[in-house]
Symmetry: C2
């Protein structure tokens, strides 16, 4: 060995107030240190079933096909894309930030014929604009981000499902950044597929992607099913139209989570425990109560930064509850100020992508950290740091404005 | 809600003596409950770099491109396959068990022209047989499992790298079942790509896949690089020959783990902590010492089941140290006996696949459980259960034979 073996993992104390990942709920961290059990232990299969039931609650769905993909958020997106899209299918992606581009990218790699429409960063799409594009493109699938952290916008989805149904289009959304902190109604909004991650408002670590599929989506998946060589038995389906990924083949993954318990991957047990606990925490507090907690924390953070005299990016009528893009004041070095917050106060806020890079910080209030003390501590430290870098900021105005929001919400 | 929200996760005590997953090292479970940090926190990027260095030690390689794929073992396999194989490339897969079929399956889904050769279950390939097939098929890539848990066989790899180099073939192996418990020399054996998982001899949970790539493999990956839309900057590569997966595009993943820290996925922090601890535990004990511990535990288990009068499947000269396929005695109901071991003794042993299904149990001695007390406890319980189901087994002979192996190894 040419290097010294490091000691046990010992992370510094951090209050994660960026656009995600964020500090996990303590009980989620604790759940991950629970002992492992075997893949087909009755306790394991029961835990998988419990987790599915819990996520039906989180997604507000009756979909039987509600499960976890073993990977980060984009693993869930890719599983949906490669399983629902046949090579050459037309896919429509309305893009209002970085993650719209990601959906288009994943669809293109899945060999779709991808069509995009774009709106200015900081805005969302009117349903009529999406419908016009559907009529023009006639896609098989509409893939639409709900909350795009790159712009903080929350695309209204409630009218889109009916439009998709009317035109015979599958409707898929990625709610990684928004689920748990903002309204989401999988069945009521007519979603055929929805994907998320744990590392935002669900308050867990990255590495597991909850997804849900409508019966219509399951039909597409099932029609393409091919059980892999090595465990395929006589009579097992082997569609020539098989999915061009083994890992993300939802046909086999559904059979792994379903009564057949087909041996596909070995479920990531500790991440399953974490995902289960994220959903459990959310449902124990109550889905509406958690969204309200995020609404208040977001409103307090917004009022706070505005009271500090900072500008805010984007259409505030469509901002996600859980993240705000704060304009970096003239003369303040954005990265140095962020580093000072991290190094001196142990608080992380986020940088930004693309057209906003260097222009805004992104401050999150998510999951465990959608709390009054986290909001006030962050605003207090931000005030100190801004002053240190020469910005003229009113004393305690940020904290007071945030406290005021909490008082009114109480 | 139509169901009661379950309590915190509370798994039953289990001694996992199957073919994997197995009981994790206690310090690995503990590492996963460490607090999260941000994606670009200096502590996080340093932890990623430490983990890479640790796995260079585990793989016995100087490969810079040594990292984790966020997913289970087959995520690592698929990342290597889709990134190294261009559609239409010829891939040769020698199959000696279920997981050879899996490699072929993944390659086929990656649109390779797949050629297989097969040998009888319970046997391995002579290097000359593989070379003959290479000469005949002229593949771009040879994909070969090292240890196939379905048969317990350990395919010798030490002569294969030179054969591949001579014929200009990339050499890839999956060492999920074998790494840590059996000799593995990535550089000395001329591997271009190797993949694994944590849930076998590395003693962690499933959900992170360590991989390593030679410079030659990195060249292939880099030649196909395309930075995804949404974060692509002027001058960034955008090869028309891009990888047909975003999640598994090693070009971007290398840039995420490398100095550029390209924003691809959000690293699964808790699984990173687990993977780091698995490698740390292994290197602290010493790579050779851990292999020797697995050798002795495997020899003790083998001697024990043989002393109980049970037959053992396969060529014992090429058995992996860490798993044995034990023939189910006539008249003993295999599944009921396994269930009794699990329910009454809290010990899990494994069933089997394909031609061995119903004929053998697979008993593992891996990672944390490659221990004398785990071996003896399992043999003792197995004796009780066999007797309960009417098998004539000699009293304490299994335990004594295993103890004898430990005495001689001491």
């Amino acid at each position: 060995m040419t290097f010294e073996i490091p000691g046990p993992i010992d992370p510094p104390a951090r209050l994660l107030m960026g656009p995600g990942p964020i500090s996990a709920y303590p009980s989620v961290l604790e759940a991950m240190s629970a002992p492992l059990v075997g893949q087909y232990d009755p306790f394991m299969t029961n835990t998988m079933a419990e987790t599915q039931a819990l996520y039906r609650g989180v997604w507000a769905t009756d979909n039987d096909a509600t499960l976890l993909i073993d990977g980060t958020s984009r693993a869930g997106i890719e599983a949906v894309m490669v399983s629902l899209i046949r090579p050459g299918d037309r896919v429509l992606v309305p893009v209002f930030g970085r993650f719209g581009h990601l959906l288009a990218e994943i669809a293109e790699r899945a060999m779709a014929e991808v069509h995009t429409i774009e709106t200015e960063w900081g805005q969302v799409f009117a349903p009529s604009v999406i419908e016009e594009a559907i009529v023009r493109v006639r896609p098989t699938l509409l893939a639409l981000v709900q909350g795009d952290t790159s712009t903080t916008m929350n695309q209204p989805l409630d009218e889109i499902g009916a439009i998709c149904a009317k035109h015979g289009v599958l409707f898929s959304t990625d709610a990684t950044a928004s689920l748990g902190g903002n309204a989401f109604e999988s069945d009521a909004w007519g979603l055929d597929a929805a994907t998320a991650g744990l590392q935002k408002c669900l308050g867990g670590p990255s590495g597991s992607s909850p997804i849900t599929l409508s019966d219509r989506a399951v039909e597409v998946v099932t029609s393409r099913k091919r059980v892999e060589a090595g465990i395929r038995e006589p009579g097992d389906p082997s569609s020539p139209d098989f999915v061009r990924s083994n890992y993300f083949d939802l046909g086999m993954i559904l059979d792994y989570w379903g009564p057949r318990r087909l041996n596909h991957h070995t479920e990531a047990t500790s991440m399953l425990y974490a995902a289960r606990e994220c959903a459990r925490v959310l449902l124990l507090e109550g889905r509406e109560a958690v969204i309200e907690r995020h609404r208040v924390a977001g409103a307090a953070m917004l009022a706070g930064v505005q009271a500090l005299g900072l500008g805010v990016f984007g259409d505030l009528g469509h901002k996600m509850h859980n993240v705000v893009a704060v304009e970096i004041p003239d003369g303040v070095p954005g990265d140095a100020a962020r580093a000072a917050l991290l190094e001196d106060f142990g608080i992380e806020i986020g940088t930004s992508f693309g057209p906003l890079h260097g222009r805004v910080w992104r401050i999150g209030t998510m999951g465990f950290n959608a709390r009054e003390d986290a909001v006030l501590t962050t605003l207090d430290a931000l005030e100190q740091v801004l002053r240190r870098f020469g910005a003229a900021v009113p004393t305690v105005a940020g904290v007071e404005a945030a406290e005021d929001v909490y008082r009114r919400a109480a």
